[in-house]
Subunit: 404 residues, 2 copies
């Protein structure tokens, strides 16, 4: 290669944010536990886990992947079956792709038996705050999307009902799936998943809960909610080295359909392309799991919510911050309007980048460079002292620029 | 959870093969380099890389992912464009899914314009030794498969020509893709990729090279071969922490089609579900890359081939081993018939598991438990002394059981 001399740029790169207080919702619950750090180093080589595999990853007995995938994980998720996947988005795609394929077969069978063939596309109903990856997963699966209206605070069952009715009117058939983001990754609003699941089932539509910001952070159980599919993110919320996610499914028929085996190889599952996460990611996910189980118990999660509310009240006291969505808040992901920061950005030397700079100086990371007027953040896993440090820093910055 | 007390089973698990000589073809070229081990520890947390992202992973400037993905990697692969993916199989699926979707659109447009609608399935032509994941990728993309006949040694252009003609006869149309496994993962046979690519192009069919056992191990260049798509495996052959793979494509139109953007988000690529490998896997891939570039230079690879041939000759001298496929051999992946080991298995106490036990005692890992008569292995990256240790061990075992 011509650029050989420059290839060293790819090595020994330091992560300057590593020792910062990180308030990025993407990162707060992804930090490795000590046990995960041990697993990372022990199992880092390529396909380390495959030394112990006889053809099916989920059946590996030592290390106890079989025990994890077929016992601990479904129990944790509240599902009949579960798998470890490459991520939450890959899990959503697997579900949508499976259901889209099944719907297509049904249509083409119906078409060959009668003249009532409908050419209308299949589609998914999603909440207004659905993550972009839910939309891209549907798009990749050849599905169209109907979203609910944007609500004042959380998504209401009526919003879903309206969206389903809109879809039926537009496409002349029911959606193949509803999807609820629980909570959304911007505002941290928690909808009434149980009621929305019941509504979806009234229409006989399966429902998927996107728990990228709940599974591993807070108590959440698919059976209790009555949802058919649940996905979680290992790197976002389960203290694992990414990319890795979890996928749970309720109902024997749905599980068989989703985890159908290949016609070419009787142990390989088609939607998993035979094998998914099999090196350090799955081993770190497993290593953090005991702590994840502990931290998602109701009393531990309650403390996280208290911490978030404490932070909100510290900011609200200044009169310069407004929390969007549910207030009192029920999750560590929060979205603020900050007119004070915005005012400063209009006169600061570095303009709207001043906030990023000021926070960097204070070793705080996680608000996207350039944002001042509105931003999301998370207090997950931070001590009350650290949370006060962040609040104090916000206030100090306002004072420094004479906003309070 | 009821099983709480047992959850510690998922933590602090040791990998007893870690200090063994590993001759599993899956593992030999996946061992992390020192630089990759540093990256693993530095970037292990969840989504570490995303601290630096403005919405598109391949555009991250610091760490220099943009430089890697858009400059170093395409140059290395010999392609116009490249991406880092979750693995080789995910890369194959992305290509097949894209081409299947394009073919379907073409058919349905043709159908609405004329009565010549063909209901025949679309399909891929693959070599006889195609990896199971190539087949599962096609299956998931809704494609059928026509494979070449099994050849004596390597796959010949005639084999592909026959398979294409068979396909055209059966389906009434050309395949949407040909796929060549280079080399296959069982026998390590290297076909004439250039001739097979030229043949595929005579039929105006794009060709994909599955380089899971070549990209990162040996010199291979998509442009020199004239192939349209190339995939490689980070964990198998590029000394990276899995799951991670690379995907390269030639031709502007093909690249635009494959990396098409979402209708919902202008920076997110549909087949990548917006984002692929973004924690330790991509950082370890990048960290090992300078050494990977070095080790795939012709003179370094020649030494690997010499080592493999030395091993073959050590075994052949005994009269108790027969190498399948190309001999003299051109790759580190080798497949042996071992009648001596088979004889022992018929009378040994542990039956066909004796070989696994004997090798384990000698701290050698990588031949699947229970195999004796036929097995594959690899000498990649082993010193000549270590290779002799393995050969000596094989011979010692035969002697111990009076087979020589």
């Amino acid at each position: 290669m011509a650029a050989n001399n420059n290839l060293q740029m790819f090595q020994y790169i330091k992560r300057d944010t590593r020792d910062f207080i990180n308030i990025d919702p993407l990162q707060t619950a992804g930090l490795l536990t000590e046990a995960a750090r041990d697993a990372l180093i022990e199992w880092g080589d390529g396909y380390s886990v495959c030394d112990y595999c006889n053809g099916a990853l989920d059946q590996v007995k030592k290390p106890p992947i079989q025990e994890f995938v077929h016992k601990a994980l479904p129990e944790f998720l509240g599902t009949d079956a579960a798998r470890v996947m490459n991520g939450a988005r890959e899990s959503k795609f697997a579900v949508m792709h499976t259901l889209a394929g099944a719907a297509k077969n049904k249509t083409s069978n119906a078409a060959s038996n009668s003249a009532n063939k409908t050419d209308a596309a299949d589609y998914v109903v999603m909440d207004a705050w659905a993550h972009y990856s839910s939309k891209v997963a549907a798009e990749r699966a050849g599905l169209e999307i109907v979203q609910t209206e944007k609500p004042e605070k959380e998504i209401m069952p009526e919003d879903f009902q309206n969206a389903i009715e809109t879809g039926i009117e537009k496409y002349g058939k029911k959606p193949i799936l509803t999807l609820l983001t629980y909570p959304d990754g911007n505002y941290g609003n928690l909808a009434d998943a149980k009621k929305i699941a019941a509504l979806s089932h009234e229409y006989e539509i399966p429902i998927l809960l996107n728990g990228a910001y709940s599974v591993g952070r807070m108590p959440v159980n698919a059976k209790e909610f009555g949802v058919d599919y649940i996905v979680g993110s290992g790197h976002k919320s389960m203290s694992a080295c990414g990319p890795v996610g979890v996928l749970g499914v309720n109902g024997e028929e749905a599980a068989e359909q989703l985890f159908r085996k290949s016609a070419y190889n009787k142990v390989k599952e088609v939607e998993l392309l035979g094998c998914t996460s099999r090196g350090a990611p799955i081993m770190t996910l497993m290593a953090s799991f005991p702590e994840v189980v502990e931290r998602t118990k109701p009393d531990v999660w309650e403390k996280e919510v208290e911490h978030a509310r404490h932070f909100v009240s510290r900011l609200e006291e200044t009169g310069k911050f407004k929390l969007f969505g549910q207030n009192p808040h029920n999750h560590d992901v929060m979205f603020f309007e900050a007119p004070g920061f915005f005012n400063i950005s209009e006169r600061a030397k570095r303009g709207r980048y001043f906030l990023y700079d000021e926070l960097k100086e204070r070793k705080i990371h996680g608000i996207k460079p350039g944002l001042t007027k509105n931003f999301k953040m998370s207090t997950y896993g931070l001590s009350i002292e650290t949370i006060d440090t962040v609040a104090d820093s916000f206030i100090d910055i306002l004072k420094k620029y004479d906003e309070i």
